[in-house]
Structures are given as C-alpha cells and as structure tokens.
C-alpha cells in the first residue's frame, strides 16, 4: 500500500487530522479508566456473603409500654417461627451481612494487650445461628442450646466460646492450620480467655466497604437492645416469598404490644447495599457508549467530508487505473494512520488519568492490558466508521475527472 501519498494528503489537512486524533486519544483514555472502574465495582458486587441469600430474610420487632417483656417475646416468637411450614431455620440475631449496621470490636491474643490483633464483627446468635445464616461449618462444632443466654449491650463479660470465619482465624492465628481450641481475648480484657470452638468457611461482616469485611465472630447469646429483636429466617428453596408474608402476619397477630417491621429478603439487601456501585457502573457504562458513538460519528463526518472534497482526485485516480479496492484501501489506511497516532497519545493519556485517580482517590493502578485491548477496539471502531464513506468513495466513477465542478 502506498503510504506516502496518504501522508502527504494528511499533511495538507493537519487540523482535521489532529481533531480526529485528539478525539480518539481522549476516548481511549476515558474508556480504559472507566472500564477499569466498572471492573472493580463488579468484583466488589460479586463477592459472596457466605449466606444462603436466595432463601433467607430478616424481620424485626419492637415492643412498647412498660409491660412488654422482650425475653418471653423472643422465646415465643422463635417457637412460632420454627413451627411454621417452609421454615428451615430461624435464629435471633443482632446483625447480618449486607446491612451496613452492626457491632465491631478488636480481639487480642494476650491479656491486657494494648492494640488488637484483628478487628471483627460480632453476630450474637443462638444454637440455630450457623444454620439460619446458611454458613458452612468447616471445623469444630456448632453452639449447644445450653450455651445460650440473654444479654444486653451494657453487659460487660462476653461469652467464653465463639465460632469464627476462616479469614478471621487466619488473621488471628496465622501459623496454625487448626485454630479450633485456640484462645483469645476481647479488646483489652484480662482474666480467662475465650475459646474458638468452630470455624465457618465464610460469613461477611455487615460493612461491605470495610477492609475487615471477611472477619466475623459468632457468639452464643441473644442480644436484646431495649425492647427490640431481629430474626433471621431461612426457608425451603423457592418458598421464601410465601413464608415472608406468613411470618409478617403471624408475628403481628401473635403479640399486639409491638410493631413488626423491617421485613426484607437478603436479595433486596444486596441490591440496596450495592446500589451506589451499580449506579456507578451504569453511569460509566452509558458514558462509554455515548463516547464511542460520538467518536464514530465524528469519524464518519470527517471521512464523508474528505470524500466529498476529493471527489475529483478520486475520479482522476480511477481514470488513471486505480481499482475500487485501491480507493477503499486508501481511505481505510488513512483512517488507520490517524487512529494509530491518536491511540499512541491516548495510551499516554490513559496512564496519566490513572495516575491522577491514584493520587486523588488512592485507586489502584490501571492494569497494563487495558490499553492494548482499547487499541484493538478503537482500531476496529475506526475501520467500521470509515467503511461507509470509503465505500462511497470507491463508487466514484472515473468520468468525474473529466467534468468541471
């Protein structure tokens, strides 16, 4: 392919070339960084919570008046819930994954240790807790009914046995392959340590954007803050919605001295807790589509203009023996050259954007492969956009050369 005539023609319309090149450069830089951000958000959103989210929901109750007895209400509610058809497991709890609300604190290895070894979320549950979360117990044992007691947030002494997630165990006891039976302390407490009796494979903390999101400690107590209680209910597969309705109605009629609220499936919670991340992916996605569209239209517009401007030259070339294919390739090669120059500048710009994002928002560095993939996509886009005008150019009859415009 004869590059020299193309180059010399381009040099005559430098400004147009620079404009298209700039557009391609900016498009590449924005698309690469936006795609990278979308990828990061999708990674966040697809992390499993460790729960059986499809079949599980939560509901809360808040009693009012002096005569309300929270402990007997919880016992009655649990008996009721466990007797309902379709319920596989029901447990009282203070917190659960994807809710962004809960209790966290530090754990340590030595009594009176000043800085904690690991931070973790606390889930206070009874003996059905692990089953209600749908978590998988991979070592040790579950809580026994006789280990369960009621407690309030003002109680000082924590339970002496606990089940932890594998991630928390790895952070607490990095050198031990079997953490079951190991001792630890809460905060800076002294005296007798608590013991790990079981390990669950995975169960996220409530805060999805926290660095300690995989650290969770299950404790055998029913935590009652004032007159409220919350239940986690897992149903037989496919029966969740029907059981949800049933539970709301039965709890409300079982006790008129309270308000039943907060009926929500875990799937609904997942969509709410990641709403901002999903919004970001949708917004960035729309910007990418619009940007590619505008750039493609820009190339179509400029190429059409050039074709119109050079109609006579094309006719002359055809008359001197150039084939249709020659004309087609001429415009395609021209587009390839402009796009390539733009892409090289855009590659530099993409890394500059990435550096700025790293500096301003501590975001991770743009992985190198985004830029070459962007190159291929924009080359393809450019060739596609130029195809229409180039085909039109190739159909210019040689006779045009003889007419005066």
């Amino acid at each position: 392919m004869e590059i020299r005539p193309i180059l010399s023609a381009l040099m005559r319309s430098k400004v147009s070339m620079i404009l298209i090149g700039l557009q391609v450069a900016l498009t590449l830089a924005i698309v690469c960084n936006a795609l990278f951000i979308i990828g990061q958000r999708l990674d966040l959103m697809k992390r499993p919570s460790g729960m059986n989210e499809a079949d599980t929901f939560t509901i809360s109750s808040i009693g009012f008046g002096q005569s309300f007895d929270v402990q007997s209400t919880i016992n009655a509610d649990l008996n009721l819930l466990r007797s309902l058809p379709g319920v596989v497991a029901a447990a009282p709890t203070n917190a659960f994954p994807l809710s962004n609300s809960g209790w966290s604190s530090g754990l340590s290895l030595a009594p009176g240790q000043r800085t904690s070894t690991a931070n973790t979320a606390f889930y206070f549950v009874d003996a059905s807790g692990v089953s209600a979360y749908g978590a998988e117990l991979v070592a040790g044992r579950d809580f026994k009914p006789e280990e369960i007691s009621f407690r309030t947030p003002n109680d000082e002494v924590m339970p002496r046995v606990a089940i932890m997630t594998r991630a928390l165990a790895r952070q607490m006891f990095p050198d031990d392959s079997d953490p079951v039976g190991k001792s630890f302390y809460f905060g800076g407490e002294e005296g007798e340590p608590a013991t790990v009796i079981g390990i669950v494979d995975k169960l996220q903390a409530p805060w999805v954007s926290a660095s300690m999101v995989e650290n969770t400690l299950l404790l055998p107590s029913i935590l009652t803050g004032g007159s409220s209680s919350t239940y986690l209910i897992r149903t037989e597969p496919g029966r969740r919605d029907e059981v949800m309705k049933d539970v709301e109605e039965k709890l409300a009629t079982a006790n008129r001295g309270r308000i039943v609220r907060g009926l929500r499936s875990m799937e609904e919670r997942r969509s709410q807790v990641y709403a901002e991340d999903r919004a970001m992916t949708i917004i960035l996605g729309s910007v990418i589509v619009a940007l590619l569209g505008i750039t493609a239209l820009g190339i179509v517009g400029m190429a059409s203009f050039w074709v119109a401007q050079r109609t006579r030259q094309i006719g002359t070339r055809r008359a001197l023996g150039a084939t249709r294919g020659d004309i087609l390739r001429y415009f395609q090669t021209e587009n390839f050259i402009i796009t390539t120059v733009g892409l090289i500048a855009g590659g530099v710009l993409a890394y500059a954007f990435s550096l700025w994002l790293m500096d301003r928002y501590q975001s991770p560095r743009l992985p190198w492969h985004y830029v070459p993939i962007g190159f291929v996509c924009l080359w393809a886009l450019g060739q596609l956009a130029v195809l229409g005008p180039a085909l039109r150019a190739s159909r210019v009859p040689p006779a045009v050369a003889t007419r005066s415009v």
Binding site: L19, I20, L26, I30, N154, M280, S304
Partner: protein, 434 residues
C-alpha cells in the same frame, strides 16, 4: 444585521440536516452529561444555611485511645461522649449550643385507625431550633427551663402531625410513645434539607427527624442512641457506666457570632481538656477542632468520590463532543468557500463574515443547549432512580437552567472560533475563478 445573520444561519443549518443533527446532538449529549453531574455536585456541596454557616461550629474533642487515633490523618472522633457534651452544655460558653443524638421510639396513636409505628427522632436542647432555624407551623420550641426540668414535651414534624392529628394545630395535645405521654409544644412546617448537615455521621442524605424531644428527657428515660456509637475501650456494665464512659455517640453544635468568639471558645475547650487530663482522661495530645458547616461537610466527604469522578468524566466527554463539533463545523464552513468568496467580492468585510459564521455556531449551541436541557432533566430522573437517597439533590433550579444554556452557547462559539477564522481567510479571487 444580527437577525439577518440568524436567518442565514438557520437556512444554512437546514440545507445540511444530517451534519447539523450530528453537531446539535454532539453538543446536547455533552451538555446533558456534564450538567446532570454538575447539578448533583453543586447541590450536594452547596451551603445548606448560607446566612449563618460560618457561625455554626461542630465540636470535636480527641478523647481517643493513646495507642491509635480515631480517624485517618490524626482526626479526632466525629462525635463526643455524654459526659463531655453535658459539661459543655452546662458551661454554656457559646452564644447558642445544642448536644443531640438520634433516637427511635414506638408511637402509640390514640386514634385507633392509625397503627402504632416507629418514629425516628432527635433528642436535643432548646437551642437546636435557634441554631438550625427549622420553620414552625404551630407553637414554638420548648424553652431552656424545660431542658432543665427534663420536661415530657415534643416538637412534631409536619408529616408526623399529618399522620397523628390530620394536620390541625395539635399544640397542647399529647402523644404516647413507648408508654410515656409527651405534650406537643410545637409543630414544624415542611422542612426539607438537601444535606442533613447537622448529623453527617448518621446519613448526610436522610430526611430531618419525625419528632424532637429534650435531650435530658431522653437520657432520663434511658433512650440509647440508634445512630453510630464508637468505643475505644469497654464502657463497663450498666447504663450509668455507659454515660460515664469514653464511648462517643453525641453530636455537639455551637453558634459563635464572630471569629473572636471562635477563638475564645477554642481556648475554653483547650482548658476544659487540660482539666480532664488531670483526671486521667484524654490521653492523646491536645487536638480539639471547631469546623464550621462547610468545613465539616468537606471533612465528612458529603460530595462522594463517585460524584467527583463522574463530574470529571462528564466534562472530558463534553471536550470530546466539542472537538467533534469543531471538526464538523470546519467541514461545513470549508464547503461554503464559494459562498464566502461571493459575499466578500460583493463587499462584505471579514468582520461581517466572521460575525455571520459565529452566529451560525451560536445557533447550533442554542439548539444543542435546549436539547441538552431536556437530556439533563432526563439524566437527573435517571440519577434519582439509581441513587434513591439523592432525591433532594437532583432538581434543576433556574440558576442551573441558565448555566446549561450559557455553557452550551459558549461551548459552541468556542468550537466555532477556529472554523470561522478559517472561513474568513478565504480569498475572494480564488473562489470566483471558476
């Protein structure tokens, strides 16, 4: 002359509808994207109480652990302890002061048709109403004496009064909450805040509370905060120990009418903390802060990083759209060299040609701006459905509408400058030869 050029411009745009549509669409898309994000950014970050935001100061005391700071960059905790809040309220060194925390209470309506419900409320002091100036529909705030008496009084929001009393003047009536009767002393008119700046810790885009009651009453009835609570060491057993602990769960605001008063108040805070140090509290170096409303909003990153990135991206997109428009205008104007040559030969000056083509660019900008305005409206609807909590910061106001159109015209004229300049340099002789 202006209207003639306008006519010429419109005619020329009609002559080449596809090219024109491409230019207008490009500007409209760029303007729509950038104005949508800019509106959210501007409404989130704008001053929620401009007439006194520099006089309202948030109190931060560093009572955190000797081993690690409460926040990054050595920031003190974003709330204060009960004992410090009460000490500052008792000293009353500011022009106005209010400690506050978030509560939720079950409401038992007298009307049997209204089911009991949970209401979110704020336990605070009488000065709250003077500090943040919520509008009253009926009655008035409770007084400082009622703070001291732990009075069973309540101020209802407009909506709560609608629910409980059908919107009539309910001052003097009682509301039963969790078995206790409270007398209504005031009812607010509709109070909508873009940013709930007085409690950024528990959700900057939440709505104001459904009721307000004295802080002292809430403490006497042992109401725990339903908002954020942080402790760096175990508070110990029981309610009294919790009140006496180093756990932070209260927000504290003061009004200081001049920079000199701010300095005085800071000096008072420092001497208070020095006193407390003698009692063995406040193990960290002195680190008290008194950010005003805007500073506090910046510290708490009310305008989220996502929104900032979106604004940056949208403007980069606008630049691409403009480059696109420059290219297309260039193509369009170059094709009309013959017409320009003819006009020049017939006596039009370069200046006149320049004006004619600039006005044509302006027409493109105006059309793009009008369509962009529609796109901005649609964009805001989309943002509202994507981020439910942003309902109060996704509205176009007149300032933003005017900005949109001005930005579009400016953008199109900027884009038209170079092509216009090129058009003016056409030599009449070269064009008329044929």
């Amino acid at each position: 002359m202006f209207s003639y050029y306008l006519q010429l411009g419109l005619r020329s745009l009609r002559r080449n509808p596809i090219l024109t549509a491409l230019m207008v669409l490009g500007i409209a898309l760029g303007i729509g994207a950038s104005m949508t994000t800019l509106t959210v950014f501007y409404l989130m970050g704008s001053d929620p109480i401009p007439w006194k935001s520099s006089k309202l100061h948030y109190v931060q005391l560093d009572n955190w652990s000797p081993d690690e700071g409460a926040g990054s960059d050595d920031r003190p905790p974003d709330q204060v302890t009960y004992r410090d809040a009460v000490a500052l309220m008792t000293a009353a060194k500011a022009d106005r002061q209010a400690a506050m925390y978030k509560i939720s209470l079950p409401v038992q309506p007298e009307n049997p048709d209204v089911k009991p419900f949970i209401a979110l409320g704020r336990a605070t002091y009488a000065d709250f109403f003077g500090l943040f100036e919520p509008p009253f529909a009926y009655g008035q705030p409770w007084g400082r004496d009622q703070d001291a008496q732990h009075a069973r009084v309540i101020v209802l929001s407009h909506d709560t009064n609608e629910t409980l009393f059908g919107g009539v003047d309910s001052v003097g009536k009682t509301v039963r909450m969790d078995g206790v009767d409270y007398t209504v002393v005031g009812v607010l008119a509709k109070w909508e805040l873009r940013v709930k700046y007085y409690d950024l810790t528990n959700g900057a885009f939440n709505n104001p509370e459904e009721f307000f009651m004295p802080f002292t009453t809430a403490i006497e009835t042992k109401r725990r905060s339903t908002g954020n609570n942080s402790c760096w060491r175990s508070p110990g057993a029981g309610w009294e120990a919790y009140l006496d602990s180093d756990c932070v769960w209260i927000q504290m605001w003061v009004e200081l009418d001049s920079p000199a008063r701010v300095e005085e108040y800071m000096a008072y805070l420092n001497s208070y903390v020095e006193e407390q140090k003698k009692l063995g509290r406040f193990p960290r170096p002195l680190n008290n802060r008194l950010p005003d409303v805007k500073q506090w909003m910046a510290d708490q990153e009310v305008v989220s990083r996502d929104v900032e990135v979106q604004v940056g991206l949208a403007f980069a997109f606008l630049v691409v759209c403009l480059i696109n428009t420059i290219g297309l205008l260039l193509a369009k104007f170059t094709r009309r060299a013959g017409e320009i040559g003819l006009r020049r030969a017939l006596g039009a000056s370069r200046r006149q040609v320049f004006m004619q083509f600039l006005i044509e660019s302006g027409v493109v900008g105006l059309s793009g701006g009008l369509i962009g305005l529609v796109l901005t409206g649609l964009g805001l609807v989309a943002v509202r459905s994507l981020y439910r909590q942003y309902a109060n910061v996704t509205h176009l106001d007149w300032a933003m509408v005017m900005t949109t159109i001005a930005l579009a015209i400016l953008a199109a004229i900027l884009a038209g400058l170079y092509p216009t300049w090129r058009a003016c340099r056409v030599q009449p002789a070269a064009q008329l030869k044929m």
